[in-house]
Amino acid sequence: MPGKLKVKIVAGRHLPVMDRASDLTDAFVEVKFGNMTFKTDVYHKSLNPQWNSEWFKFEVDDEDLQDEPLQITVLDHDTYSANDAIGKVYIDIDPLLYSEAATVISGWFPIYDTIHGIRGEINVVVKVDLFNDLNRFRQSSCGVKFFCTTSIPKCYRAVIIHGFVEELVVNEDPEYQWIDRIRTPRASNEARQRLISLMSGELQRKIGLKVLEMRGNAVVGYLQCFDLEGESGLVVRAIGTACTLDKLSSTAAFLPACNSPSKEMKEIPFNEDPNPNTHSSGPSTPLKNQTYSFSPSKSYSRQSSSSDTDLSLTPKTGMGSGSAGKEGGPFKALLRQQTQSALEQREFPFFTLTAFPPGFLVHVGGVVSARSVKLLDRIHNPDEPETRDAWWAEIRQEIKSHAKALGCHAVVGYSESTSICEEVCILSASGTAAVLNPRFLQDGTVEGCLEQRQEENLPAGCGFCHIPYDELNMPFPAHLTYCYSCRKQKVPDVLFTTIDLPTDATVIGKGCLIQARLCRLKKKAQAEANATAISNLLPFMEYEVHTQLMNKLKLKGMNALFGLRIQITVGENMLMGLASATGVYLTALPTPGGIQIAGKTPNDGSYEQHISHMQKKINDTIAKNKELYEINPPEIPEEIIGSPIPEPRQRSRLLRSQSESSDEVIELDLSHGKKDAFVLEIDDTDAMEDVHSLLTDVPPPSGFYSCNTEIMPGINNWTSEIQMFTSVRVSRLSNINLTNQTLNKNFNDLCENLLKSLYFKLRSMIPCCLCHVNFTVSLPEDELIQVTVTAVAITFDKHQAVQTTKTHVEKSLQRASTDNEELLQFPLELCTDSLGPHPFSPAKEHLESASSNSGIPAAQRAVSVEKASPLTEGHFRQRSAPACANSTVGVVKMTPLSFIPGAKITKYLGIINMFFIRETTSLREEGGVSGFLHAFIAEVFAMVRAHVAALGGNAVVSYIMKQCVFMENPNKNQAQCLINVSGDAVIFVRESELEIMSTQQPIASCQPACGGGEIAT
């Protein structure tokens, strides 16, 4: 009997009219948890009922607490007929189960109905009294924290990173039960929503148990997915990384040293630059490093952070005791031995993290991926998870062996996905093979001298690029050179990874979003034949996607891809491949050669001319891109000999040749013997098309950048304005003459136009960067392609480049003072705002003051009230910010990133994992498919925000829309959509506030007003 759940229903507002006669509603509420139900009194004739109920108490097992959602149903009382349901609220009480997260859930929740959408709001208070349970055989795992964030959460420190946890549960899909034929769509949708909520609770509990078994206390990078298999069932599966986390003390958390990661990575080296004395004893005192422990947010003492820099500064101060070139080999071997032992105990040495504590990642091998095609109707025992478990185990095994082949013992940035069409299912897994530092994988006992030296000797910023595999025994043909920054170790010519750019990596210029898009027609077929056809197509698709990525990367003048995500989607008559990644220029890797076009019939004069024309275009594009992304690597005198690859190996049309140095690409001549270029041989129209398509990608308009990683390489002066958005497009292909070419072009256009639209929509935010651009493709029907994009636009300061000489303290002081000035400039407004009960008065005041300031003659001023607003919009945005504090609805930010620019996350409140179904039988009346989905997505956002606000949070980080399944039947005027979203609810505090708090006590009272305002973006 370990828990008591207490629920109080306070009030409702904006309820729909349920009684046409009186235009009012007689509402009451049912509160259900598990099998127990309580009811409030009926509040007669009101659209804003005040129930103010007693505390409804549920005494339940903690197992149930974890599995079950709290169900709140609002109904309209009807004396004569059945009560009409107005809508429901599901509340996941999981955040209340761990001690550090939220203590109470209290707030206004939208009342949601699967047919009508949001219908008013209800104010609910939920509390949990948890009793300690020491039962060793318990089935619950209360207290294990879950994070969607794929890095160590900001206010925690990783003590140990245990490794991979996964779980999978299966159930019958209510939509496919016989009873579905006779029940209403609403009942069916609700059954489904409830079931999934229950299954995710169960899944989370089971994963929690595994974590406890591993003696961890948290799951980071938790990714939960649904597979709607149809007849064979509904699968909920999740993967994550078990960790032992330590909360950083709050005093440290309030030091200005806490920063958004973008700043951190720049500033840490600078901090120490002016006073190199601090590490004079650096490499020679390994003892010092014993105390040193990493965590992503640097919020411990000065001492330890200086030891951080020992690591990063070693290359500058010389190689210390020995060159890594000599010692690297044995070290590597030893290291490998040690880590191997640490990892061998694990079945799958996988990590869902994409960003790591410094020092964790030693080498990166490259992307590993595996796919497998399965037939769902061949599952023996569909209600049991065994078959799926076996499938996934098989794939993971494959990934593991791929990683081994690359000389790596672990896989990082690991993720899994499925694509289902009828009875065919493609299971995919991918990750980045890597060598890890074992120190984080075990308890602190192994911290030996060896490792320390290893760390010291590894030059920062390029270590991860060095090949982990054996040079003589390479798993794939690659061209190796000596590292361009340390010159000691070998590096490949290009590097593909699924992780974020490591914070210590040095890049030149900015990054950019690179996408490869591909369609392949396939014959409609049944079962086995279909699966075979798909299996046969897959390798070709993978290959072409890879080629496209490579070409585009070269065209951008870059040499590495981060955050690579390849999605293959299966439809009735086609396969779609979409790969997104962020290209960067890593200083450690060689300069990419250009792209050369080789004609097949060199004797034809006009053809030759055409080719040379194309070549020129390509060269121009490369030059332009280099300028655009500010890629200007220093010329390094070439002195090293790349390990010779026996022969420029020919892989179909793709020739790879020696790439040694890079002279200006523009100077490239057409001589075929030239050694530094990537040769594209044009032998047929297909290849022509390919080259053309390479050149059709338009760069974003000036002031815009985009990437699919957390942060944009090369930009670090973010300002605080963020705008998260979801955009969905469904395109119908004209059925005539569908060929691979037209299909490719259509798909390409669809994606390009979507991006263009985004740039246009967000033009008011320029200069800004679209971060974490996440494309999802699905093929809901024969001729329909659905593309869903979720991303966040973040503004940055173009002019104020981060000044390298300025130490952080100076900067923060300066910032504090400017903030202060700003505040003092409008002290009156701040005060009146916080007093004024009317939310609009401030805005007006600002307007007035703005226009009177600007010296408009008084007589004309007033008439301009209306006209003035667009003009003074700038004022509006900045000055009217304090008005927010008065607004009754708190602003909740949402972002797919793990941080909020310019702010410090002070508390994680728990995971948000929500699943909604919306259905309509009056599609036209709701504005067609667009109107329907637009409203639904807006409602989903609203419900996420409401839950976060009820937990006491003001933002969702690592937000992700994992599923958006949209089905329509315009003939029947019907549509249905399923959406699954998740993220971490957090409380954040603006950095400016933190600083002011510490430096500006007198005006501290104005804080809330100003803070509330700044959130309003």
Binding site: Q723, V728, F840, A862, V863, E866, G927, A942
Partner: protein, 418 residues
């Protein structure tokens, strides 16, 4: 390949002010796209027409969804579906409730009924405002009217509270409601020269001085209807024309008050009898609903005087005064309400010097000769002409200062009691 579905949803709802304006103006999506293309946005941003189309559709869809909430602005503040910064919410509401001068002049004083709504096509053709926009404006009037019609308390205050409008706009709506409720005829050709600002100014003064709310701030419909008792009392003003002594007394009082403050003082003085008679005649008939409706027509038609020839011919006024007579800004609007009649009325009865110095409503001091009971004819000069001080006769007081708030200015004549 066609896009069947194309949406963009931001965590913070994106609002493009230009598109909002086009939507409010009632343009269809394709017209709006055309207008945007012509504005040169494609060249500025390098976007394609397709992008613009999609963007416009998206905004229109958002506005369409917001419209339901805009009908009850407090809901917009409390709803959870659209996260909109307060300054933007204010902008949305203010723009949604803004109306066209041309349109409001057509509808002002008409019953806000279905019948009038049917005539909106004609109004649309006549004014050049799209039918859609006309409908929105008409529905706004009607909605505001319905909500505040039976409410206690200050009319403008109620409107502001329930529709979260700016002070300025709330007062304009108060005028619209007041006119609609009393059905004042304003559409006659003779009245066409009056702007909405002129009439709104009159409405404001009438609300302040002629309604039950002027005497008691806690009655129903206090600002919406005219005070019946007061209109009844006005009949007694006849004595001012009939009784020679009183006429002379009245004249001397008025002339004393106005001397040196009126540019047309000599004419006023010379014609005082005629002026007074005309106004008193109008005043005494106001007990009949029909005559109330024709108040403005009568003032223009039947109040004779030296300025009669200036009716509707602002251009003939001394050039120096003209700029001040045109409504340059909301605050400047009072400059010319009821150009002619007000001047005459003002000349005859008002105390033009009073307006600016008159105390605000709350601290009203008894006017000259005030009594504690119902104001008697000689003591109620300020009540009749709504805008005595605002005529061309005393532009100095009005045109010059735009800084003072209207609350202070718009109280030309102290009521007889407090």
């Amino acid at each position: 390949m066609t896009n069947e579905l194309d949406i963009f949803v931001g965590n913070t709802t994106l609002i493009d002010e230009d598109v909002y304006r086009l939507w409010l103006d009632g343009y269809s999506v394709s017209d709006a796209v055309g207008l945007r293309v012509r504005s040169g946005i494609l060249e500025q941003t390098g976007a394609t027409a397709g992008v613009l189309q999609s963007d416009t559709m998206d905004h229109y869809r958002t506005f369409h969804m917001l419209e339901r909430l805009l009908h009850t602005p407090p809901k917009l503040l409390h709803q959870l579906v659209f996260q909109i910064p307060p300054s933007r919410q204010a902008l949305l509401i203010e723009r949604y409730y803004a109306f066209d001068e041309a349109f409001v002049r057509e509808v002002l004083g008409k019953k806000l009924s279905k019948g009038t709504k049917k005539d909106l096509d004609d109004i649309s053709t006549k004014t050049g405002v799209t039918l859609k926009s006309c409908r929105r404006q008409f529905d706004n009037f009607k909605r505001v009217f319905k909500v505040v019609e039976e409410m206690r308390g200050s009319l403008a205050g109620n409107i502001q509270q329930h529709f979260l409008l700016s002070d300025r706009l709330a007062r304009d709506y108060a005028a619209v409601v007041f006119f609609a409720n009393n059905r004042f005829e304003t559409g006659k050709k003779k009245l066409q020269y009056l702007t909405f600002g002129d009439l709104a100014f009159c409405a404001e003064l009438m609300i302040q001085n002629w309604t039950p709310g002027a005497v008691d701030s806690q009655v129903d419909d206090m600002d919406v209807d005219l005070d019946k008792e007061f209109l009844q009392d006005l009949k007694e003003l006849k004595v001012l024309v009939a009784d020679k002594d009183l006429l002379d007394l009245h004249k001397s009082l008025v002339c004393t008050a106005l001397r040196g403050k009126l540019s047309v003082f000599p004419e006023m003085e010379a014609n005082f009898k005629n002026l007074s008679r005309g106004l008193v005649n109008i005043a005494s008939k106001l007990t009949h609903t029909k005559d109330v409706r024709d108040l403005f027509v009568d003032l223009v038609e039947k109040a004779p005087g030296p300025l009669g020839s200036l009716h509707g011919h602002a251009a003939q006024l001394p050039p120096a005064h003209v700029p001040r007579l045109r409504p340059r800004s909301p605050d400047a609007r009072p400059a010319c309400p009821l150009l002619g009649p007000a001047a005459k009325g003002g000349g005859g009865r008002g105390i033009p010097g009073q307006p600016r110095s008159s105390p605000p409503r709350s601290a009203r001091s008894p006017g000259p000769g005030a009594r504690t009971s119902r104001p008697q004819p000689p003591s109620a000069p300020g009540r009749l002409p709504p805008g005595p001080g605002s005529g061309p006769s005393c532009p100095v007081e009005w045109g010059g200062g735009g800084t003072g708030s209207r609350a202070g200015q718009g109280n030309p004549a102290p009521r007889g009691r407090s």
